[in-house]
């Protein structure tokens, strides 16, 4: 991936800064956005007639290989996420830049996962024909929903201390299962190939 998340974001107009929302909205808005994202992705995957094909990257034998390696990279950064989060919360000894490491590894992990998801939804769609595929479809949609919620929750102050670790844990767990049901399956079925 040649996308520099920093460069891509510079051109955005600054979002309208909402006035301090009262209590319930701080949780309701992220939750509703999460539902909308997850259901929206699933609905698109169901409604869109799977093209069966999409762009490929040079140097790889198949889009399955590209996706598996991108997903593996994303999962690798997700592991960094877990470790750096433990550092931020003081559960592990860590450097002072653990927070920055957590933010940037998260961005990279997310932006690496996006092309994979786009390919999945565009070329394959939301499928349920076997348990592996069902769980992958379900949790793939869930992942982007709960990730959106996590990002939005970060903007709120004075959250209960347990909330972010729980939501972050959900993000990590979802990505793990998504990776297990796709990339690991791919490598086990086709061999570790490029």
């Amino acid at each position: 991936m040649t996308v520099d998340p920093n460069a891509a974001t510079q051109g955005f107009p600054s979002p309208p800064s909402a006035p301090d929302r009262p209590g319930a909205a701080r949780y309701l808005v992220p939750a509703l956005v999460a539902c909308a994202v997850a259901v929206g992705l699933g609905a698109y995957g169901t409604v869109h007639d799977p093209a069966g094909t999409a762009f490929n990257l040079a140097g790889f034998s198949s889009t399955g290989a590209v996706k598996s390696w991108l997903a593996t990279a994303s999962f690798g950064f997700a592991v960094v996420q877990l470790v750096s989060a433990l550092m931020v919360y003081g559960r592990l000894p860590g450097p002072s830049w653990a927070g920055a490491l957590h933010r940037w590894s998260g961005r990279v992990a997310f932006l690496t996962a996006v092309p994979v998801a786009v390919h999945c939804l565009y070329a394959l769609g939301y499928q349920t024909y076997e348990p592996r595929v069902l769980w992958h479809s379900l949790l793939g949609c869930f992942f982007f929903g709960v990730f959106s919620a996590k990002m939005l929750l970060l903007r709120s102050e004075r959250l209960p201390g347990w909330l972010l670790p729980i939501v972050g844990g959900l993000v990590f767990a979802a990505l793990t299962v998504v990776w297990l049901t796709s990339a690991l399956w791919f490598f086990r079925t086709f061999g570790v190939t490029t």
């Binding site: 974001t9 955005f12 093209a51 069966g52 094909t53 999409a54 762009f55 034998s61 903007r155």
Partner: protein, 226 residues
């Protein structure tokens, strides 16, 4: 202080997704199979290149009554069983041309080719005297297949991926292998694999990725179009 970093992260992901989606939408209509799930091994494509290799989108909305229109019936795939439940039949339509596959899953199969008329009638012929006569009406093809001195009635319903008609040809361990698969709507598969012309039951393909292992070698089947 409101942190806007997370919002930028989300927006960047959204923009990236839209960018890739537009890339797909613009490149996905090309007939070349440069993208997609290319074969992991040497799998030679069906002899006739398809003019609408990725035309799945156009097949999604068939006009309800083809007989009243002056244009050929819409591109689509159909798959079903014979009336005696012994065999499966799949028909693939593209731009007025048709290819069909009859297969009993053991030793009898036939590829049949021909045109579909504007009124939805099909008359396809295969090597060795096989013949398929059928009619497309609504979302199904009904007709008969004459093969091996027997006549089989069949009904084939519109097939939605991953059901449909697939083929793989390759050289595996010095043998020319040629496999044909019909994936039915209920997920069951009927297929025959010929090794140097000798037919046998085909191993199951993975309907999602099209992967199949033949004599220890992994191949990728491809959807068949006329």
């Amino acid at each position: 202080m409101k942190r806007s970093g997370p919002l930028f992260t989300l927006l960047a992901g959204l923009l990236l997704a839209l960018f890739l989606l537009s890339l797909n939408a613009t490149t996905g209509t090309r007939p070349t199979a440069s993208g997609g799930e290319p074969p992991t091994t040497k799998v030679s494509p069906n002899p006739t290149p398809s003019p609408t290799g990725t035309g799945a989108g156009t097949g999604g909305s068939p006009s309800p009554d083809p007989s009243t229109t002056g244009t050929p019936p819409p591109n689509a795939d159909y798959a079903g069983r014979t009336d005696d439940d012994s065999s499966a039949v799949a028909v693939s339509l593209r731009d007025g041309r048709a290819i069909a596959y009859f297969c009993d899953g053991r030793d009898q199969e036939s590829w049949l080719k021909g045109d579909i008329e504007d009124d939805g009638s099909l008359k396809l012929t295969g090597r060795g005297g096989g013949e398929l006569n059928g009619t497309l009406k609504g979302d199904r093809v009904r007709g008969t297949v004459d093969i091996g001195g027997k006549e089989y009635g069949f009904t084939a319903d519109k097939a939605v991926k991953p059901s449909g008609l697939y083929r793989a040809t390759a050289t595996v361990r010095g043998a020319e292998v040629d496999g044909g698969w019909i994936v039915l709507r209920d997920g069951s598969q009927v297929g025959i694999l010929k090794r140097d012309g000798r037919p046998s039951a085909a191993p199951e393909i993975d309907p999602g990725s099209g992967a199949v292992t033949i004599d220890g070698e992994r191949l990728t089947v491809r959807p068949v179009t006329p």
